[in-house]
Symmetry: C2
Subunit: 327 residues, 2 copies
Amino acid sequence: MSEFRKDPLSNRWIITLDDKNFVPTTGRALPEDLPVKDDICPFCPGNEDKTGKEIHRVSQPKDGWSIRVIPNNNPYLQVETQLKKKGDAVYDIIAGTGANEVIIETPAHNADLENLTDAHAAELIKVYRARMSDLLKDDRLEYILIFKNKGSRAGANLAHPHSQLMAMPVIPKTISDEMAEAQQYYGFKTRCPFCDTLESELASRSRLVKETENFISFVPFASRTPFEMWIMPKHHTSHFHHINDNMCAQLGSLLKDSITRVNKALNYPPYNYMIHTAPSKSPDIPFFHWHIEILPRVKSIAGFEWGSGFYINPTLPEESAEYLRGL
Amino acid sequence: MSEFRKDPLSNRWIITLDDKNFVPTTGRALPEDLPVKDDICPFCPGNEDKTGKEIHRVSQPKDGWSIRVIPNNNPYLQVETQLKKKGDAVYDIIAGTGANEVIIETPAHNADLENLTDAHAAELIKVYRARMSDLLKDDRLEYILIFKNKGSRAGANLAHPHSQLMAMPVIPKTISDEMAEAQQYYGFKTRCPFCDTLESELASRSRLVKETENFISFVPFASRTPFEMWIMPKHHTSHFHHINDNMCAQLGSLLKDSITRVNKALNYPPYNYMIHTAPSKSPDIPFFHWHIEILPRVKSIAGFEWGSGFYINPTLPEESAEYLRGL
């Protein structure tokens, strides 16, 4: 029997059903025979001159670099654009001020997070932190979103492993919705709904996948897709970029662990992950708790999802978690 | 140069840019050689016994029927389910009470809306109205969503032309978000933001595609996808099911006209359309105006869209409108 489940952190319901006939629409986001190095790939070593001016680099004595940050080749947003806001009849417009950076995660063309060493994964988290901290200095930017697209069905144009950063002069709807809902909860209960979620998950353990000293990974109660996973710090903290080096190392390993499990469960599906953090300029918020959301893209977004903002998940989150734990 | 544009009816911004290199990811949602009739298709004439018990039919003396409404074979929601709400730790659950119907739009397996006669398209709108009016009698249902998925990338499992209806015990997030934003606007200006949008579009005409006695079709200012189109009644009315027969006829023709233009512009893309109407139980609302949103699915939903609730549109809505007007 199906049921509506409400995401406690947003006004979003999903419909779960236990559909034994569900077949994921796709797997193998990358061709199996992808080379280690591709001559025409602008993200491969040796082709550094094909990208824009390097913004950040993690150097390696032997290979030159292990991680590079570059501007998007065809940037949607640019820091050079003057921040201007204007109206046009009933409409509102803001100039495309911001930044759009690409984080090349590894020199290896055919790698995924699961192939990186733990130390390399930790460096990647530190690069996310460094780029966020740097861009926070620009007072015009209200939000910095870090996300990853893996596989063309998840929106990636290039196979070489990379994440992206978008710094924007406006707070994303997803985040303001989440914050508004969390604030209502806090107003009523005087507790952070993310902390309550964490306690629920640690108490029941039915949706928990892994627990480390400072983090948990779990399948959320109202998962939008089969095998959706979230990573959440155990201690209340609203801004991602406040994590220390020890937590970067733990988060890198856990992100790698989570992606490896999703890859095994769904045969290397296309996926997205996004870091949800509090808006750049806000002080610590008692009702917001940063976290990472991982969404395997194995189900189409159809008219129901567009029209309702709800999702239909043909798998039970508790069963997905049990399966992921066993891998 | 790119700019952020705010949808005046929701807290959603899109980034427009004028990308001359943009190539739609796909076209031809259906194989070109689709037969008029398919022996194993449960929606084709002669296979009526392969569907659940017929809910509604538009009879035709010669062919038996022109439109049929049936329950979804594998329904997510059922009226037989008792409405129960409960909590589980921090979480909220509602039993899957509701309805999930399929509207078979035509006996022809290979048709699209553009192939129907105007009279047939009018009948389809009347069927939408009839099913909505009927389900509104069930006091447990808070919202009735009618939508269409065309092509597998837009979420359709079967090629035979069909729309769907989901009746739910909870108001969709998309609608409550839109209403909350509209109410804020109304509180400030004492005018309906949809009516103001209509006036803007009729005044500038730069995004207008077609105007009839009672409706307009236009490319919205903050289009999420290339060639997104909306159809809106000219007179303020919050509930779709209040339309009269004359308006059904006009809407049928205009919906057909819009789909035909989108098909021509993008070579038969996958698409979704959704009817946005006010919640079932609410009286007339001064700040909400029903409308239809048509979304060609020619761009992936990636981490940016998931993480922000914003969209990147590589085409200028004004140019899309000009192109659509010329077809």
